[in-house]
């Protein structure tokens, strides 16, 4: 009577099918969907139809078709929309008022005010910021992404990445230690920022004029085969970028100091991969009915999620500290809740999603190379498809799992894994460790409700 014979998918108690030949039973390791929220699971199922799937295919195709090119390094006020006049500072993550900001972001904002010369002392700067004398806005609202505090001021240089008429930007990476993105703003920090603004940026811009543009996807694809995952490890990408630009940089008057800086900063190319990922993900923003995640970002207090089908809307939830290894002398109690726009890399499918490419950093998450493979395989369960260019050698050159689908996150209960640095909770102490953090379930539950409401309208 049953065409194809009785071949059972058992969802629940094994005892219910004990009378069926074991060869004819596939037992699911079933877990309640949608993190136990049955109502959200229903909404997700209602959305899981041809309309959504078609929209997701279109959205992901647009993301994968993007070919970001690094074309220049320019002062933010020249190129970043909305930073040209007035006192505007950008920060990482979803919107947040000064009063609720965490230590590192506040410190970085103070440093940026001092760098711009809008205040003479740190106290003046604090008063200015607390009094609303500076417009504070998320980087993401301006096509920018910034790691950790992600603070960008108008005179700071940005990497300019473009694809046709679309652009995205990222600040220049300062290196490790006492740096602005961890909230430090002492003289050394400000001096370094001035040197980057006045010397490094013009040198790199000129070099790109000669040797550029640099194809970011191609650079990342190579770096993935050289042990980077594009977030916590960018040493290969930095080396490739430096090698590309070196002949032209070396001919500049300040070329050697610039090269020395690049040689001493393993994370320089992180900001490039972030800008590239931002440009790619922006291609999907606003795809009607799509449940594809277009941004994940943290401001040190809240985690923010954006989804293609709900445009510019943020879904936010409190964020915890990352789980990982701490540098000697520090522990979890010192850690600031997770911070930065760098999760844009995971949104595209690298970083934590491409752990399989970077066995060297698996120790940071207390794991083995096998765990790294496992992480990438589990991210396949929540993504829409493999990235055609970003391939992972250890998985037979399969494409990195790309395009997080809110519906799949709810169906599987698997949360996106994000590789991250860990900042000290006090401004200016700097990085105290590195590890992984999972996106909070609440943002996906909010998203599915909003997506469902949008479909029902």
């Amino acid at each position: 009577m049953i065409a194809g014979g009785v071949r059972v998918l058992n969802v629940g108690l094994p005892a219910v099918v004990e009378g069926v030949a074991p060869a004819d039973v596939l037992q699911l390791d079933w877990r309640p969907p949608a993190f136990g929220d049955a109502e959200a699971a229903r909404l997700a199922l209602a959305l899981d139809d041809d309309v959504t799937q078609g929209a997701n295919r279109r959205a992901l195709a647009a993301v994968h078709a993007a070919r970001p090119q690094l074309v220049g390094v320019r002062p933010a006020r020249e190129v970043v929309p909305g930073t040209g006049d007035g006192r505007v500072l950008l920060h990482a993550g979803p919107p947040i008022a000064w009063e609720r900001m965490c230590g590192p972001v506040r410190g970085a904002l103070v440093g940026a005010v001092l760098l711009e010369g809008w205040a003479a002392t740190s106290q003046e700067a604090r008063d200015l910021l607390a009094g609303g004398g500076v417009v504070l806005d998320p980087c993401h609202h301006h096509g920018v992404v910034g790691p950790m505090a992600g603070v960008l001021s108008p005179s700071m240089p940005v990497l300019v990445v473009e694809d046709g008429d679309r652009r995205a930007f990222a600040s220049l990476n300062e290196g490790l230690g006492r740096v602005l993105r961890f909230g430090a703003f002492d003289t050394d920090v400000l001096d370094r920022l001035r040197w980057m603004r006045d010397v490094l940026a013009p040198v790199l811009d000129a070099a790109l004029g000669e040797e550029g543009p640099v194809d970011v996807t191609s650079l990342l694809a190579q770096a993935l085969t050289m042990g980077d995952e594009g977030h916590n490890r960018s040493v290969a990408a930095t080396a490739l970028l430096t090698r590309r630009l070196a002949p032209a940089v070396a001919q500049q008057e300040q070329g050697v100091p610039a090269l020395r800086f690049l040689a001493g900063n393993d994370h320089f190319a992180l900001n490039l991969s972030m800008a590239g990922a931002k440009l790619a993900m922006d291609a999907a923003v606003g795809t009607e009915h799509s449940t594809l995640v277009t941004a994940m970002a943290r401001n040190g207090v809240e985690f923010g999620l954006r989804v293609a089908g709900t445009g510019d809307r943020w879904f936010t939830a409190p964020v915890g500290a990352a789980d990982g290894l701490f540098f000697p002398g520090y522990d979890r109690a010192d850690a600031n809740p997770d911070l930065g726009d760098s999760a844009i890399t995971e949104t595209l499918g690298i970083g934590g999603f491409a752990m399989a490419a970077a066995p060297a950093i698996t120790a940071f998450v207390g794991g083995t190379p096998d765990d790294a493979l496992e992480t990438t395989l589990s991210m396949r369960r929540i993504t829409t498809g493999p990235h055609p260019a970003l391939r992972l050698a250890s998985l037979g050159f399969a494409g990195a799992p790309s395009g997080i689908d809110v519906l799949k996150v709810l169906d599987t209960g698997v949360l996106p894994v994000i590789n991250t640095g860990i900042a000290h909770r006090e401004a200016g102490v700097g990085q105290i460790g590195a590890g992984i953090v999972e996106a909070p379930p609440a943002v996906f539950l909010q998203a599915v409700r909003a997506l469902h409401a949008a479909r029902s309208r």
Binding site: G5, V6, A38, L373, R380
Partner: protein, 488 residues
Amino acid sequence: MTPAATQTLAARVFPRLYRDSVTLMSLAAALERRAGVTRAGVVMGTPGNLAILERSAMRPPDVAPAPDDLVVVVRGADEATVSAALEAAAAGLDAVVQDSGPRRERAPQTVTEGLTVDPALTLAVVSTPGPYAPVVVEQALRAGLHVLCFSDNVQTADEVRLKDLAAQRGLLLMGPDCGTAILDGVPLGFANAVRRGPVGIVAASGTGAQEVACLLHRAGTGVSQLVGVGGRDLSTAVGGTMTHLALDLLGADDATDVVVVVSKPPAAEVARRLLARLATLGKPAVACLLGEGDTDGPVPLRGTLEGGARAAAALVGAVLDLEPVALPSATPTGGVLGLYTGGTLAAEARVVLRRAGVPAQVLDLGDDEYTVGRPHPMIDPAGRAAAVVAAGDRPDVGVLLVDLVLGHGAAADPTTPLAEAAAAAVRAARSGGRELVVLASVCGTDGDPQGLASARRTLVQAGVVVHPSNAAAARAAVAVLCRSGRTA
């Protein structure tokens, strides 16, 4: 070899897809190794290749690719085989991009992942907590699976919606709260090892269907299919959607000669439609609607499970011959208490007692009221055993009526706890200067894992009077009370 005419041929065209010939040839070889596949070809859609496919009867008429399109052609035993092979081919071509390296074995966790692991699955059995069951059931139905939903606590509105969805797709949705089914000889949930035979059962009740099936087995005949539809299927809200679909399937099932529908009495309109459908089924049918009067029309109507089984057996030329059991000599002074694990068995006992005019308290210990926070008494016999022991201390109880359900899904040894509890209850009554008679029936067959004969023996040794059917046990209760002069 099966002649080509009875085989299925199908193709799939992948526009402008290039793959190396090594990939294509190994894919074709892999497809030909699949069970049921006779021939497979993976070629570029050039006129020359199409001509070759045509000559070897491998070109489906509706396929017209361009030279740069990749064509996969499969000839196989039936449509399911061929479409599964084509799916596998699509996955294989895609795997060139999304291949995997070393992989740890991990059980699939979602319906989608389960079907990826084994696309040949046909039926989902769902026993998740109730609030999630509608989600899982809908996922399974959308994926084209029949569903047996063991879960309860599902809203009626969900049941109506999901059964409509299933019926549109010609899929069975057995349940929610469906405890039993036997499909093509495969037992699911609580089911007994009954002989395969000509009687098809559609049941809106779990233990009722088990009792009818076991009695048919006892009559020497057997069961072709047992389709549970869930206790609410014949309610006014659901309207018998699945009962009607199941009847359609049984009507078309070659293994089924006679059909029995087992249910509590449905609403008048639903019952009218049911009887009308049974009358036009094209196969002899029995309506076993618990508590209705026994009448013989075009469709015999029976109010007990035993009556339904006997009528169905007669329609296939078998006789349900239940050997009489001697009444116990005791003359208890108390009334009848029924302590049941099977809900429909409890209902049948009430019917028999009511027909005899015997007032009695018959409890269904599987009811939600008694199972909050604990397993069903058919799975965990301890709760019912405790109730039996407690009955020994009740002066108002003279006759204890119990059921014992064997079979797949039931406890590994439900007998010992009941036997020990019954013996303890009898001892307690006796020490209180009273007489207590324990009457039982065992719902099971000699093929069940627990063993029918040994279960009966254990009960008898404990002083329990074991009857061949639940109705017979209830009639014995009536007889004991009559003899004690306590009937109304």
